[in-house]
């Protein structure tokens, strides 16, 4: 099948979108499809540049470019999903957030307000026109429903390096990989460490704006011997950290999806999460593949102590998590099949 994948390119601003796109293109190539990736140069400012790009995409017809047959167009981002094709499949990563959940009418400039109107109109029209509409996660589908009144089917995909995650005998530490941001709530785990009774270390990987804040907390509580901010770690280190952990903590606030939950399940590790964590709640089964606790340090510490005291049961939970992952049937071939059969 000849497939055109569209996505944006903001030069040298890399993020999760890149990994997602790479995963998809790799899976399509492995599936034996003929692939072209069309990347639209995206600049956030000025508003006019977005308008222009939107106009450009909205007028682009990719049904038979230069007489060449294109069987499918798969789009991941705004404004690529506006490109015309009779069999256009949209797998929405997220919309242009500045005019959706981040938009505040009180402070918006006339230009932004104008842009918001045009984007809303563009999105509603383009997404309605799409042959099939998928969302990256349940949360993204919810927002689409809320703002555009459109229904999308959540379609989950495996995290990068899914095949390389492995499980080994647990060392005494809880692992929490994430960007060091307030919404990821590393402080919950740092505070929890003050209540730990068992000799379990806490390893936090990732970098971010809150690094100094979190380091300050560790300093203030004199937890150097127990907690370590590892900074950004490379692929190997990440795999090893997952593999040797006693459990993985992932308790962000209202996360969209969160690769961490999936990665921990792939590495056969129990996941500790919180009742208000959003995405992880779709995967973690309380008491079976991990624990869902109140977002309170004492509750989290108690669960960690329990896992340390019941290592065999912790390992069983990890295996149950892996089994749950297997049962969910999340795989790139499945994603490809869903996208292309739509």
């Amino acid at each position: 099948m000849k497939i055109l994948v569209t996505a944006n390119l903001a030069p040298f601003m890399t993020g999760g979108a890149e990994a997602h796109l790479e995963g998809l293109t790799h899976a399509l190539r492995v599936g034996g499809h003929d692939l072209e990736v069309l990347r639209l140069p995206f600049t956030f400012h000025p508003e006019a540049s977005i308008e222009r790009l939107m106009g450009f995409a909205g007028e682009l017809d990719m049904n038979r470019p230069n007489g060449q047959r294109v069987d499918r167009v798969i789009s991941l981002q705004f404004p690529g999903y506006g490109i015309h094709h009779d069999h256009h499949i949209v797998w929405l990563m997220h919309q242009h957030r500045v005019v959706y959940e981040l938009y505040d009418p009180a402070t918006a400039t006339p230009e932004l307000a104008q842009l918001r109107q045009s984007i809303h109109a563009y999105d509603t029209q383009a997404l309605r026109r799409a042959h099939a509409l998928f969302a990256n996660s349940g949360r993204v589908a919810e927002r689409l429903k809320q703002f555009n009144g459109l229904s999308a089917r959540p379609l989950y995909h495996p995290p990068p390096q899914a095949e390389q995650l492995y499980c080994a005998d647990a060392e005494d530490y809880v692992f929490f990989p994430s960007r060091l941001e307030r919404l990821k709530r590393q402080d919950l785990l740092i505070e929890a460490a003050r209540h730990l009774r068992s000799p379990v270390a806490i390893l936090l990987s990732g970098d971010g704006g809150q690094r100094d804040h979190y380091q300050g907390l560790i300093d203030r509580y004199r937890l150097h011997d127990r907690i370590r901010l590892l900074g950004r770690v490379d692929a190997r280190m990440k795999l090893a950290l997952y593999a040797r952990s006693l459990a993985v903590f992932f308790g962000p606030f209202d996360e969209d999806l969160g690769y961490v939950t999936l990665e921990a399940m792939l590495a056969s590790k129990p996941v500790l999460t919180c009742t208000d964590a959003g995405g992880p709640l779709e995967f973690v089964v309380d008491g079976e593949t991990g624990f869902i606790t109140e977002p309170a340090p004492e509750a989290i510490a108690e669960r960690i102590d329990w896992l340390h005291a019941h290592r065999a049961k912790a390992a069983d939970m990890g295996r149950a998590g892996r089994a749950r992952w297997e049962s969910l049937g999340i795989s790139w071939p499945h994603v490809v099949e869903q996208l292309l059969s739509a």
């Binding site: 400012h45 981040l102 950004r232 490379d234």
Partner: protein, 512 residues
Amino acid sequence: MPQPIDINQLLGRVRAEAESLDLPEYPHPTPTQNLTLHEEPDTSARGAAGVAHIQSLLMAPRELFLHEAYRSLFRRDADSSGISHYQGMLTEGHSRAEVLYAMARSSEGRALGVKIGGLGWRALLCRWSLKFRKYSPDRIHSALLAGRGGKLGMLARLIPTRLLRLFLVPFRINHLPGKWLRAWENRLAAPFAIVGQWVLEQQKHSEKIIHALKKHEEERLGQLHAHKEHASQTENDLRQSIATQASRQHELEKTLDWLRYSVSRQWHQALGSTPPHMAALPETLTAEQEALDAFYIAFEDACRGSEADIREGLLVYLDRVRRSAAAQGHPIIDIGCGRGEWLRILKDEGFMARGVDQSAAMVERATAYGLDVEQGDAVAALARLPEASVGGVTGFHIVEHLPFPVLFRLFAEVSRVLAPGGIAIFETPNPENVLVGSHTFYHDPTHRNPITPTFITFLAQYHGLAEIEIVRLHPYPEAAKVPGHDPLTERVNGHLCGPQDFALVAYRPRPA
């Protein structure tokens, strides 16, 4: 709070595992990792504060700087995550001083109590730079564009892009410490840079020389290998030719043996058909003869050893008889067989064995054991046998009883009756032992003269027998010897306590 966790050890284990993972699609970001600039610093004080002087690290080549820094500050090899983190700082334009300062301020650096020497007041610059690192104008700009920054961000996004850039200009102040520190480092490192360049050139030059040397060595090794091969070929050839020579010589010797034998056979034709009688005593003395026989048997019984001793003494010859192919198919004749101890051994081993003895009493005894023994004159008995009809002729303590003409005829007959390859064994007292020659030989009144090895060897050769071997037997026990190993003692022991008997072993040659 109980703290039995060693987080550094724990991390060390995880890091080691991570480094050992095989991920071909993620190229290792540190290709220079196995380069070592100098020996590992003394790590006996592991966990003690790492103190690094900044100047020593400014000299390190760019690709080695971080590895050096890890060794001096953290006393361990760098891991790829750490490298990529700090490499990122360098790429962003931070100075080495800032990177070292950041390492010292990291959790690991703090846990180890790492200190950076030589920074002085510039440590404040590092601190400033790291503190406000995240407020670099580029970072703020992209964060704002991506929709971050809350209410303030929202306000900032209201400003047109060009103005926003202007608005961010004050943040450029954050670049200053890095800039100053880089300038300072360049000033410090300038003299070293020249040395460094020189060292690099020298290194390249050395590598070239090493390469050339290696090539040369390989060539020489190749040549040596070829030489060695040639030499071993030559050696093989030589060995083969020596072997060929030896086998040819052996054949020649065999032929010579056969020729000698044939000549001796020619001479034997001249000998009469009736051999000289051994005793040649008048028939009238038969009664007296019987009395003498009786005496002799009594004497022998008194002097002979136990049956087991005799048997054991005879086993020496059994091996030789077994090895003789002729003895397998032809009878073995034991002359002067006495009670037949040897015949019994041969019989037990499955050989055809026949005995001849003059003494009627002995023959009677041997026959009683079921042995095939005839009474009569040995030489006459052999003379009656057809040529080449016997596998072996043996005689124990016989030859010293015979007058020379009879002995001569005995050997002639032995030579005639033996089949090709047949074996002859004659045991006799050994006169090389002075005590035997002067004393014990004369215990037996029927002994004539001691037979020497030299004489009997010649006699056998004369009659065409070959592959002659003299086996010396029955030395005095060690206890009887004079103690000591000096030449005189050795000689005394050799003459007085040496083998008391010897045997001639000879074979009839095969036709060449």
